[in-house]
């Protein structure tokens, strides 16, 4: 039986180019039995958080096969960067994971700094940690709100996305001039020192957040309906999570305690006391939610300590306005909100990178989706998709 989604003879476009040169998908997803049907989810669908297409094969309401299809947002960042100078590439890095732009800047700058061997002034490192952790909180607040919407709870979105994340964006606007794409962390330090009283306003925000986190837990974490939709759904064992290359909150939800900031501290993370957020060990949707919910608290702890310890001093190391890093190759990575964000950079001694590869955690985490949704119902697909917390800008780059 041929399916209407995958016509066996793709229509010809004028000019001779054909729409597709062969069957679109792997495995036997196109071979549909009498009792099965194909369901096309996306690429434009509110629950896919961007332009992601998933083809689901259903037996009644049970999913028997699923194939994600990515690439709709591909902008060729890695190719573009070969024609742009190093400072021009920081701007591009903002656009990959647009919910965690600060950590994107950081991952790229860290790689260039390794090539240039620059000393970063301590004040710049502390401000980097503050904005990096606040960005993680902002990113997890988007997750908290949208995940609630995915499962039918609209109110938490208004609290986390509409009220609290706005306050963080206001702080970022004050320090960098932008709300989403900051271009704030630069090679050698940061763009500008924090304005007068900014640290105090961050501390005031932390105080305001404390009672609100209790509210967060009342709204979702301990909500019995929310728990029913999550506990035991979309389990992934620790072995599988590791083999699929999971990092960040998704990996920690399955058990392994890997956290770059603890295991291989970069910047000044050695100076802070905090716990690695873990789930209760099942690797299900609820664990992935819990890890992110706890990370909000832990990140706020780090920001609180950084605000107290922040030293005075310059915020920019000794870097020339125009620089040509020496020839070489480096790999640098940071703990981004979605996992380990790596930059593999090859320089040939000119002012543009010879090769710049981004280790995009969302892209690698999304591979497991097909396996994770098998055997679950259609409504659970939305929960599993949402709990992976990917950003399509980073998946497709």
């Amino acid at each position: 039986m041929t399916s209407p989604i995958f016509p066996s003879n793709p229509p010809k476009i004028d000019g001779g180019a054909s729409l597709s040169t062969g069957p679109v998908f792997e495995t036997k997803i196109e071979q549909v039995e009498e009792h099965e049907m194909l369901l096309n989810l996306g690429p434009q669908h509110p629950s896919t958080h961007g332009v992601l297409r998933v083809v689901l094969k259903l037996d009644g309401e049970i999913i028997t096969d699923a194939v994600p299809d990515v690439g709709y947002l591909h902008r060729g960042v890695e190719k573009l960067s070969e024609h742009r100078t190093y400072p021009m590439n920081i701007v591009l890095s903002d656009r990959n994971d647009y919910l965690g732009a600060m950590t994107n800047n950081w991952a790229f700058c860290l790689a260039v700094e390794k090539l240039l061997k620059v000393e970063i002034p301590p004040r710049a490192e502390y401000i980097r940690v503050i904005v990096g952790e606040l960005n993680r909180v902002a990113s997890h607040m988007v997750f908290y709100g949208t995940y609630g919407i995915d499962l039918g709870a609209f109110t938490p979105f208004l609290h986390s996305f509409g009220r609290d994340r706005e306050e963080i964006l206001d702080l970022f606007e004050e320090i960098s001039g932008a709300r989403i794409t900051y271009n704030y962390i630069r090679v050698g330090g940061i763009m500008l020192d924090a304005p007068d009283g900014w640290i105090g306003r961050v501390q005031a925000f932390l105080e305001r957040m404390k009672p609100r986190l209790v509210e967060y837990d009342k709204l979702l974490t301990f909500n019995p309906i929310f728990k029913d939709r999550n506990i035991g759904i979309g389990k992934l064992s620790a072995e599988k999570a590791v083999a699929y290359g999971f990092t960040g909150p998704n990996l920690r939800a399955s058990g392994p305690t890997c956290d770059l900031r603890k295991d291989h501290p970069y910047s000044v993370y050695k100076d802070f006391q905090y716990d690695v957020a873990l789930g209760i060990g099942g690797g299900d949707c609820y664990d992935r939610f819990l890890v992110r919910r706890q990370e909000i608290s832990e990140s706020l702890k780090i920001v609180e300590q950084a605000c107290k310890k922040i030293p005075e001093g310059p915020v920019m190391g000794k870097v020339a306005k125009v620089y040509r890093p020496p020839a070489g190759e480096v790999y640098a990575q940071v703990e981004a909100p979605r996992g380990w964000l790596g930059s593999y950079l090859v320089s040939d001694g000119t002012d543009t990178p010879y090769r710049y590869h981004i280790r995009a955690p969302s892209f690698i985490n999304l591979q497991a989706l097909g396996e994770m949704v098998k055997g679950w119902k259609v409504a659970d697909v939305v929960a599993i998709l949402g709990s992976l917390d990917f950003v399509l800008g980073e998946v497709d780059r």
Partner: protein, 178 residues
């Protein structure tokens, strides 16, 4: 995370592995890297994953670099052990003409899409890959964009200003890098 001592140790203990020789005036960070011949890649990867001394269970990333002057593609695999908390950079090189290598997506399923991406953007074929199709570009896209000799053909999305594409001379022939 990546250490020179570990790389030397791995290269000594696992057969068919060598350390990457140092290059003058070329920074390597991490500097501890090991090299394997493309024919032995799969066997060595299984060993690195299962050897109780190393247990590289997490496929951190893999990518390729087009070294046009040396006429090779270099494949870079970064591996990590969640149990021992250490990493390794594994490299291999394939010729630029007819590049072909064994797939390691059966060793780590996390390499599946990354190999597809390298196939998509570099045109390197991964033998015995379960589903080697383009992933970021569409089916039927002409050429492999991340190769250094890739030529952008003007299409309907160009405003006309891009016709003098960087990397091409007046006759439209790619200029080799200096």
């Amino acid at each position: 995370m990546f250490s020179t001592d570990l790389a030397k140790d791995v290269a000594r203990k696992i057969p068919r592995l060598t350390t990457v020789p140092e290059k003058p005036n070329f920074i390597r960070d991490p500097d501890g890297q090991v090299m394997v011949l493309p024919g032995n890649l799969h066997e060595v990867c299984v060993n690195l994953r299962d050897n109780p001394q190393y247990l590289f269970d997490l496929p951190l990333q893999m990518t390729a670099v087009d070294y046009w002057k040396e006429n090779i593609f270099e494949l870079v695999y970064c591996l990590y052990s969640t149990k021992l908390r250490q990493g390794l950079v594994l490299k291999t090189q394939v010729p630029r003409s007819g590049p072909e290598i064994d797939s390691v997506s059966d060793v780590w399923p996390g390499m599946n899409w990354q190999e597809r991406e390298v196939y998509d953007l570099f045109g390197i074929t991964f033998k015995s890959h379960p589903y080697l199709k383009r992933i970021l570009m569409w089916e039927g896209f002409p050429g492999y964009p991340l190769r250094k000799d890739y030529v952008h053909l003007t299409d309907r999305y160009d405003s006309g200003l891009e016709i003098g594409t960087p990397g091409l001379d007046e006759k439209g022939i790619p200029i080799p890098p200096k």
